[in-house]
Symmetry: C2
Subunit: 107 residues, 2 copies
DNA sequence: CCGTATCCTATCGGATACTG
DNA sequence: CAGTATCCGATAGGATACGG
C-alpha cells in the first residue's frame, strides 16, 4: 500500500479523505461496531466499498478489526487510540463546513 | 460547477481536498500573490493545474482574483475573509498529521 | 455474516502546445 | 505573464456475482 505524504496536513487529508471515511469514522468514534451495523448506518455504500474504506483506515492505524470465531461469524471494528485523536479534527471540519454553508448557501 | 455536499465535514473536505490546494492556500494565507509567484513557490505543479485549483478555490469562495490592466498583465490572488477562517483548520490538520507521523513513522 | 473477484465508469490531474 | 485547448493515464469507487 502506498505511503502517506510527508507534509503533515496532506498526510491528515489522505487518512480521512476517502468518499465514506468521515461517515465510518464518525460511527466508530461513538463505539465499536460490526460490519453489518456500519453498512446499515451508512445508506448508499456498498459492502465492497465499505470494506475498502475500513481496510485503508486500518492500514493508517486509526481503526482496528477484531474477528470472533463464532457461527455466524462476527467482526467488529473500532477506533484505535490514534483514531480517537481524530475527534477534535473532525469537529473542526464540521464546524468550518457549517460556517461555510452559512456564508454561502448551497454553493 | 458541481455543488458542495451538505454534510458539513464533507463540504469542508471538498473545499480543501484538491491535490495542491493546501499548498496554494498556505501561501495565500500569508499574503496575496501573483500566479507566477505561486507557481514558483509550488515546485512540481503545472500552470494548468495551478489555475484549475485556483478556479475551484474561487468558486468555493475562499480565494479571490484581481486583474490589473497593465502590460505585461498582472493577476493577483488572495484569500477572502471566508478563506482566512481556514487557518485554524489547516493548523489542526497539520498538527494531527505531525502527531500521526510521530506515532507511525513513514507508514 | 463477512469478504473477495471482476468489470466498468467518471473524475482528476499531468504533459504539451498554443494564444492574447 | 496569464490563460486555454487537447490528449491521456491512473485511480477511486460503484454494480454485481460468487465463496467460506
Amino acid at each position: 500500500m502506498k505511503n502517506l505524504p510527508e507534509v503533515p496536513a496532506e498526510r491528515a487529508l489522505r487518512v480521512i479523505g476517502g468518499r465514506w471515511k468521515l461517515h465510518v469514522l464518525w460511527h466508530l468514534l461513538e463505539h465499536r461496531r460490526r460490519l453489518s451495523e456500519l453498512q446499515r448506518l451508512i445508506p448508499g455504500i456498498t459492502q465492497k466499498v465499505l470494506i475498502q474504506q475500513l481496510r485503508e483506515l486500518e492500514a493508517h492505524g486509526v481503526v482496528s478489526r477484531e474477528v470472533f470465531a463464532e457461527v455466524p461469524p462476527r467482526v467488529e471494528y473500532e477506533a484505535t487510540p490514534l483514531g480517537l485523536t481524530l475527534r477534535p479534527l473532525l469537529e473542526s471540519l464540521c464546524s468550518w463546513g457549517r460556517q461555510h454553508a452559512q456564508a454561502r448557501g448551497a454553493r
